[in-house]
């Protein structure tokens, strides 16, 4: 990976910058010693580590604004951070940049059952939003597996998904409003407490922008009534193809299940050894399907799933008969990553998305690659929406294995793009997939995106070095290249 060029003048001015930050946040919320900064040196993509210039923990919108105004004036870079669970290096610090932890913004500001929304500080964890409203029968739908730890601010930055996104949408589909501080220090409000229309959809743009456009200081999310009932089905298949056809078949017949996950043989084996959730060990692929709604809706949907799955030759179908059983069935899927993690000293989690119909082709190619690279791969898969999580097993202590795992991963992502898919379904580009962006986009495509970055951040100070493989100066990107009027070819088109 190419690293960002280091600005030595910033390092030289570190003492002055520390003093300025101290004046804004005080001594207590400023971290400058290497030992105390150590926990911030990486996010969950731990292969990359870097101590920041310093860590600041603002606790008000005013402080965030002051820090950003200072950064803009003094040309200092800033990296926002939530809980640091990003799997793409989105929150990786810069040696010459301030790391701004949003951990202090950890309060739920408003629970509004009348408008079905919750307003929370960006440092509030994903799960605590649901916990705050579940007594009254509501929940916040996007449920990344990291939901105990990851923050809603991080979710907005990454447009995170989860198991239930198939039916209920990703973060971006469940956000109603945002408050954000710009580098100018201006505080803007996007969206509202309910559905908004009119004007450019900057809220949609900011969601998923990986902390590069502004610092989010408040998030308003939509809460949903919890379904009255839910059941889970475990369906085993003799082949991955049959499981894939069943997924498509269910949706073709008009049913969008609450969740529809797939695990391959290796992932199932690892999981069963870890938690014993009753997954069929003889199956090549297992589908974990959740059906929710009223009793009649579930009854109707269960019959349909059974019919489709049997039609494609399912080898076993088990339906949960109690809430305990349902949760136990999920326990397997929820533990899949740590379970697979026990098979080898390290694993590398990939996140491409493919058109569902390409699943057999991609899995076959992946097993070939697995043999070529000499590294095992287990597959856990948000089957309903084509989002693959191949887990590549390796041992970082064996010389060359990390590099091999990374190349293997890259090859998988390139394959995803080749079959009509994308580099990342929910984990973000960050630094991890930055240099692969040109697999999907032309230079022009990337310039169009970078100009948007320039509109918010003309000096490239907010989380620079992420997402874009080449950094352009905004002035250079902003230039308009127009041919002179007589030089321009008159469009040779039918006209009337």
């Amino acid at each position: 990976m190419k690293t960002m060029p280091l600005d030595q003048t910033i390092i030289d001015r570190r003492a002055a910058i520390i003093a300025a930050m101290r004046a804004i946040v005080g001594e207590e919320r400023l971290i400058t010693s290497d030992t105390a900064m150590r926990p911030y040196e990486s996010d969950a993509l731990t292969a990359y580590r870097q101590l920041p210039l310093m860590v600041v923990l603002p606790d008000s919108v005013e402080e965030v604004a002051k820090i950003l105004v200072y950064a803009q004036k003094e040309n200092v870079k800033v990296v926002p951070r939530g809980a640091g669970t990003s799997l793409s290096g989105g929150a990786l610090p810069l040696a010459d940049g301030i790391l701004m932890s949003m951990a202090r913004f950890n309060e739920i500001q408003k629970i509004d059952y009348d408008n079905l929304c919750v307003t929370a500080g960006p440092g509030v964890t994903n799960l605590s939003i649901t916990e705050a409203v579940q007594d009254r029968g509501f929940y916040y739908a996007p449920d990344p597996s990291s939901r105990i730890a990851c923050t809603i601010g991080g979710n907005v930055a990454e447009n995170s998904g989860g198991m239930h996104c198939l039916k209920y949408g990703l973060t971006t589909n469940n956000i109603l409003g945002l408050e954000m501080v710009l580098l100018t220090g201006d505080v803007i409000t996007l969206g509202s407490d309910d559905f908004t229309e009119g004007g450019l959809d900057l809220m949609g743009l900011v969601t998923g922008s990986e902390g590069m456009l502004g610092v989010v200081t408040s998030v308003t999310v939509r809460i949903l009534p919890a379904p009255p009932e839910a059941i889970t089905m475990l369906v085993g298949f003799p082949s991955v193809e049959a499981a894939g056809e069943t997924v498509a078949g269910i949706m073709r017949r008009g049913l969008i299940p609450g969740a529809m996950e797939m695990m391959d043989r290796l992932a199932v084996k690892a999981t069963e050894a870890f938690v014993a959730s009753g997954y069929p060990l003889d199956a090549e692929a297992v589908l974990i399907i959740e059906l929710d709604g009223t009793r009649e809706e579930i009854k109707s949907a269960t019959a349909l799933v059974k019919k489709v799955a049997s039609g494609f030759g399912a080898s076993s179908i088990v339906v949960s008969t109690s809430e305990e059983e349902r949760l136990a069935m999920w326990q397997g899927r929820m533990s899949a990553f740590p379970a697979v993690g026990r098979l080898a000293p390290d694993y590398y989690c990939m996140d491409g998305t493919i058109p569902r119909g390409k699943l057999p082709e991609v899995l076959t190619a992946m097993s070939q690659m697995s043999r070529d690279f000499g590294l095992e791969v287990a597959n856990v898969f948000h089957a309903g929406d084509g989002n693959l999580h191949p887990l590549i097993l390796y041992d970082a202590n064996e010389p060359g294995q990390l590099e091999r795992a990374e190349t293997f991963g890259e090859e998988i992502l390139k394959l995803c793009v080749r079959v009509g898919g994308v580099l990342t379904g929910e984990h973000g580009v960050g630094i991890e997939k930055r240099d692969l962006m040109s697999e999907m986009f032309t230079e022009t495509d990337l310039n169009v995106q970078q100009r948007v970055k320039c509109a918010f951040d003309p000096d490239g100070l907010l989380n620079p070095g992420k997402v874009f493989p080449t950094l352009h100066r905004c002035a250079e990107l902003g230039r308009v290249h127009i041919h002179s009027a007589d030089g321009a070819r008159f469009p040779n088109l039918p006209r009337y």
Partner: protein, 401 residues
């Protein structure tokens, strides 16, 4: 207009790029048109040239198993809807057909299709009643290609539902009314069309009680996919309409069990009649004779309060969708100079008001879109600079700077 007006009818993406390069070089403002059905929305564009998209037509890929559809921007909506219907699918955001309520617009297209074009639907970013549960147009666009106001052909997004590769510019382009780029191809997420529809009609409720019922129904776990209320004044008698969609073997039970917890008793309306009813909610054909129509977006729990203030200060007929979060207000000739009052009322409740339909002279002196606070307006202008620094595409359509 000083210049002779030119019309372009490109048949390929390359030709669209050529047109934009030419208007840039000659500094000729360009109006982009599908079939013109939504031309009445937004401000009138003063252009020296027109780009007609209707020859850039056809479905590129309809993949029912993948739940996606890609088509050229000029494809008639009828064609898209028919192709999806043949597969038992639909666009879940219920793109409205406002041609009747807005009246016909002369835009020199050949023939012109009633339901507009695919590109037009996305550029206008309009959504129907199902936004309540299934999201709006913005939530269904997966990717697109287009030509920016700098004359560059670009692509964003992809053809899969789950994608966070790069910025989500699809959302920015959806609802930008062709002011950032001329869209050439769009890919959207499609969903299964429900097998059965039922509507629970509860009549005779006073406005406050009706709006309260909408909110309670939307907060109930019965998956209500439409919640609309029409005022007595607008329809002769008031009516509260709750829509359920699902499978034939479960929907009637759901309709029945829903009523006790909501403490209402209503009349059930079957699939066919429900289809017509919700099309009426979506398209507002009943208001084609109205001269002025406002669309107010607001937090649903403030709807009753906003409506009372509108009664007291402005008057007019009202109709509520999205469980109250979208208020339609129609004025007939009366109260033309009250846009400031309406905007104040909306803002006080945390909402926004758009002048959806109005005679040309009123629109030329009133901002159609709700004015933005300074810092946001400045930022929006900078985002526009990124795409169209010369403001050459549909200039002024959104009242932009």
């Amino acid at each position: 207009m000083p210049m002779e007006e030119k019309s372009f009818h490109p048949r390929s993406e390359e030709e669209v790029e050529e047109v934009v390069k030419w208007v840039l070089a000659t500094k000729t403002p360009l109006e982009i048109l599908g079939s013109g059905t939504k031309r009445g929305i937004g401000h009138q564009v003063e252009a020296g040239a027109r780009l007609h998209m209707e020859r850039l037509t056809g479905i590129i890929a309809c993949e029912p198993g993948e739940l996606v559809l890609s088509a050229w921007a000029g494809t008639p909506m009828e064609e898209i809807e028919a192709a999806l219907a043949a597969e038992g699918q639909h666009l879940a955001f219920e793109p409205p057909d406002y041609s009747q309520v807005l009246g016909s617009q002369d835009c020199g297209t050949d023939g012109g299709t009633h339901g507009g074009t695919f590109g037009g639907a996305i550029a206008a970013g309009l959504s129907g009643p199902r936004r309540l549960i299934a999201g709006g147009a913005r939530d269904h666009v997966l990717g697109l290609t287009g030509v920016t106001g700098r004359g560059e052909t670009f692509k964003i997004g992809g053809r899969v539902v789950k994608n966070v590769t790069g910025y989500d510019l699809s959302k920015l382009l959806t609802g930008s009314f062709g002011t950032l780029a001329a869209m050439t191809r769009v890919t959207v997420k499609v969903l299964p069309r429900p097998e059965a529809i039922r509507t629970l009609e509860v009549s005779g409720l006073a406005r406050e009680a009706g709006l309260d019922l909408l909110r309670r129904a939307a907060a109930s776990p019965f998956s209500v996919t439409g919640a609309a209320f029409v005022d007595e004044r607008a329809a002769g008698s008031s009516g509260c309409f709750l829509r359920l969609e699902g499978r034939a073997d479960e929907i009637d039970v759901r309709l029945n069990t829903m009523q006790a917890p909501l403490s209402v008793e209503g009349a059930a309306i079957g699939s066919k009649a429900s289809g017509d009813l919700w099309q009426g909610v979506r398209d507002l054909p009943a208001w084609s004779a109205m001269d002025i129509i406002w669309r107010i977006n607001l937090p649903r729990a403030r709807a009753a309060e906003v409506a009372s203030r509108v009664d007291a200060e402005v008057g007019g007929d009202m109709f509520f969708d999205w469980a109250g979060a979208r208020l339609w207000l129609a004025l007939k000739g009366e109260g033309t100079a009250n846009h400031e009052a309406i905007r104040k009322i909306a803002e006080a409740a945390g909402g926004k008001a758009m002048l959806f339909k109005a005679p040309g002279d009123l629109k030329s002196e009133t901002p159609v879109f709700h004015p933005e606070p300074d810092a946001l307006a400045t930022l929006t202008a900078r985002v526009r600079d990124a795409f169209d620094p010369q403001r050459i595409l549909n200039p002024g359509r959104m009242g932009e700077r």
